[in-house]
């Protein structure tokens, strides 16, 4: 990095908020994906004005800037692929306000999801999109990826809750989108453009979120299936049965085997288990909904069905799903966490496709997922030091996504494209759509300084 650029950055953020130390450059070179590249420096800005000045500088000297939250991206969104400066937003971590009457919360991008959850709890409210990384992931990151979570089937994803954003554009101008109203039809919906734009169109510096009253009761049930396609059919049927469960998750056989190897949960190693939760304000309501779910489980050849009778039992049932990542990561050195989504009617077939691919390429692909919105996470566990295995992982991924697109699906339900899935963008989006996306990027960021090299936008 040129000395004058370094000096200019220090002038903007202060010496304590700038680093080009080796230990920091290495720490910022990775997120939770397999991609890696060091930045030239990192800064911890405190205000939108500082970020504005940094982006103006970036345009003047043409260096890349990569905004970053907790760096838990599974797709390389936060990896500074072209070097340049990391904008670590973690110090912008204030919950600015919570208004129950207006049903909204205003937060800075560095606020950790779990801290927001804790702040809303005493008011009886919650922010439904609950990513598994919620103990560390930041709201800025949630907005960048349009994060989902276990409650997605009923409550939707981040984009359904963002009312307004303050953004610093790549040229340094600061603007607001949306409003604090529950609904608005005023002008282009810029808010929705930025949500899920992976830090390529602007840096989010303030987020106004709609919050939901939290249902006080829930009911949970787990069903085991000897045939994964039966489980898939049960999922489809549940989601068009008239009720909507607050969660409907699938855990496959490979995952169950891994869980049993690493815990003493002693789960049956069947082809698939489904865990469903219904929520509401009365016992009758939650039970009515869960009864429908249980009927469908049974209709689709569930071998066992168990309903939790206490809070502890419900938590025990959920442990199977929530410990999945942990046990998968112990199978081998590396994980390629995929994130495909398919139309609901294709879920049964997709589950079978994944297990066939695992056999074809001799790979372990434990799969869990938000079956209720057709979003599956086949997670290839492999030895990254074995070049043959790495090649097979790539081949399996390509065939997987070709199949997904064939079924009318998408290569990413919630993790985003970043670097990991950039090569599949042309597979999913037609040439006109790709051209339009590139035009939008160019219009916002003519010098391509903001998080460049992502989403296959660099033609």
């Amino acid at each position: 990095m040129e000395d004058k650029v370094k000096k200019a950055l220090i002038d903007i953020v202060g010496e304590d908020n700038f680093t080009d130390n080796l230990i920091d450059l290495i720490s910022y070179s990775k997120d939770a994906s397999e991609h890696k590249h060091r930045p030239d420096a990192a800064v911890w800005p405190g205000t939108a004005e500082e970020i504005s000045a940094i982006l103006k500088l970036a345009n003047m000297y043409r260096f890349p800037v990569t905004p970053r939250g907790a760096g838990t991206s599974l797709a390389g969104l936060a990896v500074p692929e072209k070097g340049g400066v990391i904008l670590d937003l973690i110090r912008m971590n204030k919950i600015i306000s919570v208004s129950v009457t207006d049903r909204l919360a205003v937060v800075q991008p560095g606020v950790v999801y779990a801290d927001l959850e804790r702040a809303l709890e005493p008011h009886g409210f919650f922010f439904p999109p609950d990513p598994a990384s919620g103990t560390v992931a930041t709201l800025g990151g949630n907005v960048a990826t349009n994060a989902g979570g276990i409650k997605g089937a009923k409550y939707g994803t981040t984009k359904d809750y963002v009312l307004s954003l303050q953004i610093v554009l790549p040229d340094g101008r600061i603007m607001r989108t949306g409003s604090k109203c529950m609904k608005s039809s005023s002008g282009y919906d810029l808010t929705k453009l930025f949500v899920g734009s992976e830090g390529t169109l602007g840096v989010v510096t303030e987020i106004t979120l709609k919050i939901n009253p939290k249902p006080s009761l829930s009911a949970t049930a787990m069903a085991t299936f000897e045939d994964v396609e039966d489980a898939g059919r049960a999922v489809s049927e549940i989601m068009h049965s008239g009720i909507i469960p607050s969660a409907l998750e699938v855990v496959d056989q490979e995952t169950l085997i891994a869980i049993n190897q690493n815990t003493d949960l002693n789960l049956p190693e069947v082809e698939a288990i489904l865990i469903a939760e219904t929520d509401g304000h009365t016992r009758e309501e939650t039970q009515f909904q869960l009864n429908k779910v249980i009927d469908i489980f049974k209709k689709n050849n569930a071998v066992t069905v168990k309903q939790a009778t206490t809070q502890e039992e419900a938590e025990a049932l959920w442990t199977a799903r929530k410990s999945a990542y942990a046990v998968m990561s112990r199978i081998n050195y590396s994980l390629a966490v995929e994130d495909l989504s398919v139309p609901m009617s294709k879920v049964p077939h997709m589950l079978k496709v994944i297990s066939n691919l695992a056999k074809k390429y001799d790979l372990k692909i434990p799969t869990v997922g938000h079956a209720g919105d057709g979003n599956l996470h086949p997670t290839i566990s492999y030895d990254s030091t074995n070049s043959d295995e790495v090649k097979r992982v790539e081949q399996a991924s390509v065939e997987l996504f070709e199949k997904v697109i064939e079924l009318g699906g998408t290569v990413t339900g919630e993790h985003g494209i970043g670097l990991a899935k950039a090569r599949f963008m042309p597979l999913e989006h037609d040439p006109v759509a790709m051209d339009v996306m590139r035009s939008i990027k160019k219009s916002f960021d003519p010098n391509n300084i903001l998080n460049p090299g992502k989403m296959a936008l660099d033609a």
Partner: protein, 367 residues
């Protein structure tokens, strides 16, 4: 490629298994106060992976993060991939010392213990007004912090043991030197021998200590295996006191801070609470308690080497005390007491005590 450093020989698999998920950010006390990713477990593992790949060497530039870790093990406890970062860090520190790259505070500590009896290089042991090296059923081992920095608290603990008519003796103790193994060096054989000889000479069958770090050292380090071989048990004072009845209570709102060395490292969570419940029925847990307890910031040598961050970590823990509105914070570790007390702001009105010290005060007031 042959592994260059011992940490790679022992822990290569674990370093590779780190999936860089970042979940350790939620629990690392150093990261929690500084918000600097280079300090937390993931940052450290990324750096060590590059060392293993040969893209960087172990060198002085890495001291700032590899020697700044309280070894609280919250990361290990919460790591989905089962990576034991503190164990890896302790080994890396030995590799760094081997190549001559070490934090000066720890190099200094090692030197001090070659010619002094304690980490503070104090020459005169505090006079606790009690005979040392008697024959007795129990040895009470104070530890360096209790002897030279929290002597008031230690005096009260000894007063309590007297009130309970415990047949104990102090000894001419020297630093257990367990800390050296954690900061890149080796336990000091001369000091071990002195402690062993002096303990054995008392004829005691049990060593009680208020320092959970010393009790871990005595119980786990092979250099102290002679204790068990001679049928000598080592107890932390909370394990010893839990069966006593004290006949005093307070109605103050009391909370308990689990020291990392007693809680997460030894699994001793209930004994201190059993004692507290007897004397303080008005008890409230801190938000992060038992296995999730937040580190006070003193451990792993951080107090000496990175004092500013150490105090910041303690302050962060004390915010949790304010959160529950406790009037009294109890713990049983002189290091924790020392760091928390140093960090307490004047406007924070709660008091910080070791349990044994607090019980003694209650008994004194009752007289």
């Amino acid at each position: 490629m042959e592994a260059k450093y011992d940490f790679e020989k022992k822990y290569r698999d674990q370093v590779l298994r780190c999936s860089n998920c970042g979940f350790c950010r939620a629990v690392c006390p150093v990261f929690g106060t500084t918000l600097r990713p280079a300090y937390n477990a993931r940052g450290k593992m990324l750096i060590l992976k590059e060392v293993m790949d040969g893209t960087i060497e172990l060198n002085d530039e890495l001291i700032e993060t590899l020697f700044q870790c309280t070894t609280c093990a919250s990361c290990a406890e919460n790591c989905p991939s089962g990576v034991n970062v503190p164990d890896i860090i302790k080994q890396v520190r030995k590799d760094m010392v081997n190549i001559g790259s070490c934090h000066p505070a720890f190099k200094g500590m090692n030197e001090v213990l070659k010619s002094h009896t304690n980490i503070y290089a104090e020459d005169e042991p505090e006079d606790f007004e009690r005979e040392r090296n008697k024959k007795a059923e129990y040895v009470y081992f104070i530890g360096c912090v209790g002897s030279y920095r929290e002597d008031e608290a230690t005096l009260e603990t000894l007063d309590l043991l007297d009130r309970l008519n415990v047949d104990y003796t102090l000894i001419d103790e020297v630093c257990c030197s367990g800390v050296l193994e954690d900061v890149g060096y080796e336990i000091n054989g001369d000091l071990v021998k002195k402690n062993m000889d002096r303990i054995l000479a008392t004829g005691a069958k049990t060593v009680i200590t208020g320092c959970p770090y010393c009790s871990r050292t005595f119980n786990n380090k092979p250099q102290y295996a002679g204790l068990a071989e001679n049928g000598i048990k080592v107890l932390h004072i909370t394990q010893f006191l839990k069966d006593f009845d004290f006949g005093v209570t307070t109605d103050k709102l009391v909370t308990y801070h689990d020291p990392c060395d007693l809680g997460r490292h030894c699994g001793i969570y209930e004994e201190p609470r059993e004692i507290i419940k007897k004397i303080a029925p008005n008890f409230v847990e801190l938000r992060h308690n038992r296995v999730d307890a937040l580190c006070c910031g003193a451990g792993g040598g951080v107090r000496g080497a990175y004092a500013k961050n150490s105090i910041a970590m303690a302050r962060r823990r004390l915010e949790e005390v304010e959160e529950v509105g406790a009037e009294v914070v109890l713990t049983e570790c002189n290091s924790c007491v020392h760091n928390l007390a140093n960090a307490k702001l004047r406007k924070q009105k709660f008091k910080i005590y070791n349990i044994s010290q607090f019980v003694n005060e209650l008994m004194e007031e009752a007289e």
